[in-house]
Amino acid sequence: MSILKPDFIKPVAIGAVIFAALAFLPSFADSYYMSLAISVVSFAVLATAWSMFSGPTRYISLATVVFFGIGAYTVAVLGEIMAFPLVLVCAGLAGTVVALLVGFSTLRLAGVYFVIFTFGLTELVRQVVSWYEVNVTREMGRYVFLDITQNDIYWQLLALFAVLLLTGFVLGRSRLGFALRIIGEDETVAKHCGIDVTRVKVALFVLSALFMTLTGAIIAPRWTYIDPVIAFNPMLSFQVVIMALLGGPRRLLGPLLGVIPLTLLFEVLTASFPNHFSILLGCVFMVIVYLLPGGVVGLYEKYRAPKKRTLSSSPETTRKSEEKTA
């Protein structure tokens, strides 16, 4: 991989220009639109980070909010003791440690164990944090009073998103990214190519978790009050999965196509139907699963290059017969 090749420089340069332009948004938008922009960018980071791991491996992680909440909680606990950059480092460390533990205990196994584990992980972490707060610190809920404005949050998130996209872009061209794609296509083949399957999966899972943790940490000052129920709200994991799936988790910019329409839709839904939010969300989800299995990106690719589909379907059929004999 050469850094100086034009096919590397061009997208990075275009991206840099777009991000530089986006950084001036606070000069035009009022605080309502800034708050909306923060939602969009934070979901963009979460959904892209989610897809970075779950897209190629097809391991559905339902634990986004665990890492997000860990980040937010670290800020609530340490925010007034340390400088904010240091707090971010601590949050990142905490998220990494948890991701390593989860990754090494479940990613050796079949995907379904991972899904189940992450499915309940939110509940577990929330219970443990609540238990700790009740029995050790003896107070439920914490206040976050930090001297960080809405615009600061926006800029930090934007920077985080830029770093994430760059990471994803470099990753797509690296040996690690290639190994991950092979694992996604066929794990047995990957093993035979000499890829340490578990280590690659854990590395990617930790990387994606790190970005989720930082998002939670950056956005925490927006809330001023945090308790375990707010910080570890399972709905967030769900929203992130839908957004990534709508966009198409197998392309770097795919999730973004799901994030923008759905963040706006959720904004309308929470305002107009606060009591029916969960039902409508479930319906949106069903529509995506049944009608748009490959996401918007998949739809686009299907109509653009029908030949490619027949080519890529041949390994699927061989795997099918292989599985039947196994």
Binding site: R58, I60, L62, S105, T106, L109, G111, V112, Y113, V115, I116, F117, F119, G120, E123, L124, Q127, V128, S130, W131, V134, N135, P234, F238, V241, L245, N275, H276, F277, S278, I279, L280, L281, G282, C283, F285, M286, V289, Y290, P293, S313, E316, T317, R319, K320, E323, K324, A326
Partner: protein, 290 residues
């Protein structure tokens, strides 16, 4: 104190085992990883609650209505929602992913409907709440009744699967769907039947649990998770394994709740789950795969 903790652990564990038996059927035979499973349990609890408080029908009689109702409902879920996914899936992995996503959506819809109707409060009703003395432990009669029914229904279920023609067909599909077709088993019908039967067992579990526990609309997720953990611990498709694993989980939870802290029950579940995953991922009684 100890005998009480153990007995309430056994009742709880019996419920887990029963609920997990339904899930192991849905996952083992129909190959559907149903994340909305716990919601079906809770829906049954709420129906039992409404029967008891609004119509004065006691939960045991209620079962006569709830079992066929949930069987039909689950049949419909499989036919309408899941058959397209089964038809579309190219292999087992894809079906697993699709069914996880679809039932995850279903989970939020069911939970949302319950939330609109019942709100976020905890519910319970009074049924056979008189104390009974068992081996020195004072226990509410409803727990005993629930345990008794769990044993009877679990046993009946076991006999259906091992002694009848359709039960044998179901087990054949669980072992190998492709070969099952060769001996003239209608795999689609068997999957649908297993899914519906599993759902009916979930409903029984929900009704029995509602007799002695308080429940809320958000508890479905916890039931799904515990049922999944029991299924994995016992080995997928293994009824006896589910029974043993369910009891272990129930007793461990009850002991921790009594002696350490009731706030840590999920943590216990997870520690046990992790231990099983690390030591024997195929489950306590599971056959080793690959």
């Amino acid at each position: 104190m100890l005998s009480y903790a153990i007995f309430s652990g056994i009742t709880l564990g019996g419920m887990y085992a029963l609920v997990a038996m339904g899930l192991t059927l849905q996952y083992g035979v129909s190959r559907i990883m149903n994340l909305a499973y716990g919601e079906l349990v809770i829906v049954a609890s709420f129906i039992a609650f409404v029967f008891m408080t609004s119509f004065g029908i006691n939960p045991i009689l209620g079962l006569l209505i709830i079992i066929p109702l949930s069987f039909v409902l689950n049949w419909a879920i499989y036919r309408i929602l899941l058959t397209p996914l089964v038809a579309r899936a190219k292999n087992r992995g894809m079906l697993e992913v699709d069914s996880i996503l679809a039932t995850f959506g279903l989970l939020f819809i069911v939970q949302g409907v319950l939330l609109v109707w019942f709100g976020g409060n905890y519910y319970s009703y009074d049924f056979m709440n008189n104390a009974v003395d068992v081996f020195g432990a004072v226990i509410a009669a409803n727990r005993l009744v629930a345990l008794g029914f769990a044993v009877v229904i679990g046993l009946g279920f076991y006999l259906i699967l091992t002694r009848t023609r359709i039960g044998t067909a179901l087990r054949a599909v669980a072992v190998d769907p492709t070969s099952a077709r060769l001996v003239a088993i209608d795999v689609n019908f068997a999957s649908c039947f297993a899914f519906a039967l599993g759902g009916a067992v979930a409903a029984v579990g929900g009704v029995l649990v509602s007799m002695f526990l308080t429940f809320s609309t958000s508890m479905g997720v916890v039931f799904t998770m515990k049922a999944l953990i029991v299924v994995i611990m016992g080995g997928v498709g293994n009824l006896l394994g589910a029974l043993v694993a369910g009891l272990i989980l129930g007793v461990a939870e009850s002991l921790v709740a009594t002696y350490i802290d009731p706030g840590l029950t999920i943590a216990v579940t997870y520690v046990i789950f992790l231990l099983v995953l690390l030591v024997k991922p195929s489950g306590l009684f599971g056959r080793a795969t690959s």
